[in-house]
Subunit: 202 residues, 2 copies
């Protein structure tokens, strides 16, 4: 399977600015996550409409935590430990695509058992957004992939130059926030990530 | 129709403490709103389970803003201006009971048009939770009821002694937060409200 590139909003851009960049990134990106914890559901609703207007197809949009907003548009949803439990979402919002953030092997197994479609695992490397929290490292990613069949996207401090190492550990793709959104040239950076993700011999 | 009493959580009590009081208030209360803006959906999910365990029937539970949590239990939902639009909730979450907070005649008409089942209008009197914001007053409530067919619950600074005035203006019931939850004796206070709401000659 082609390795995936997810771009996650970092909460620093306005929704307009994120939608603008997303429109340009669309050909090189598999999923756009609206992860805007400080925003109301009305703002997220407006944000999804902006993404759609910029030509992002519904199946490429993922809403963090707010299952109601996701359900209104039939986008994907991304859950964390503070979200509704996966099995409850599966029961009451059938056919919605569910991703889940996990930070341990145990949580990954639980998410798999409950029926998550994929997991985000991290942070893999040191990153400014998780200052002072030691990274999980490549070894943990490798162990997780050995014990679980579920697609795993690596997140946290991933740069184009360490993509081969991440894929070598078994990742099915990567998720990037500021690495793309705060890059000098987000489009060129996304292209570079995509190239690294799908180079021959991975 | 019997005049309704809604009790709204004030965000000051723990979910356990609110569920405990709700269990005792249940015979005297028509609806319990979980209005806990600072809490995660996982916490609200746990909160609803606590209310159910205390014997509150599902149809008496109302979740503020989080349509996803409401939908998981098929409770009612209460929307504000920062929530998903009413018509979107009606379209994607059919048969869920929708209340809506409004602060003007125009907003009341819009909510009615979009299909809200009832509205909360206020604040009617001065209240500590809206310090410095002038109350809408009894006159606005009366005007709203004259122009709209929708059930209207009055909220804000309502005490047992001003219930007759509120009902005189046409209210179909009242919603109370700290007036009951922070009362010396919440149960006796709720009973007194209920008596005032349903006295002969209203």
């Amino acid at each position: 399977m082609r390795k995936q590139l997810h771009v996650i909003s970092d909460g620093k851009l306005s929704l307009e600015a994120f939608a603008e960049i997303a429109g340009e990134l669309e050909p090189f990106t598999d999923r756009f996550h609206l992860r805007e914890k400080h925003r109301t559901s009305r703002e997220l609703y407006t944000g999804v409409k902006m993404l759609l207007k910029k030509g992002i197809p519904t199946h490429k949009i993922v809403i963090n935590d707010r299952v109601d907003v996701a359900w209104a548009f039939k986008t994907g949803v991304h859950l964390a430990f503070h979200s509704l439990p996966i099995h409850i979402v599966k029961m009451h919002f059938p056919d919605i695509r569910i991703g889940c953030s996990v930070h341990s092997l145990e949580a990954a197994e639980e998410a798999t058992k409950q029926g998550a479609d994929y997991i985000l695992f991290g942070h893999i490397f040191e990153t400014d957004s998780k200052k002072g929290v030691p990274p999980r490292g490549i070894g943990a990613l490798e162990a997780l992939k050995k014990r679980n069949d579920i697609p795993v996207l690596a997140i946290g401090g991933i740069k184009p130059e360490n993509v081969p190492e991440v894929l070598g550990a078994g990742a099915d793709g990567i998720a990037v926030m500021s690495g793309i959104l705060q890059a000098k040239d987000p489009i060129e950076t996304a292209k570079l990530f995509l190239k690294k993700l799908n180079e021959e011999g991975q």
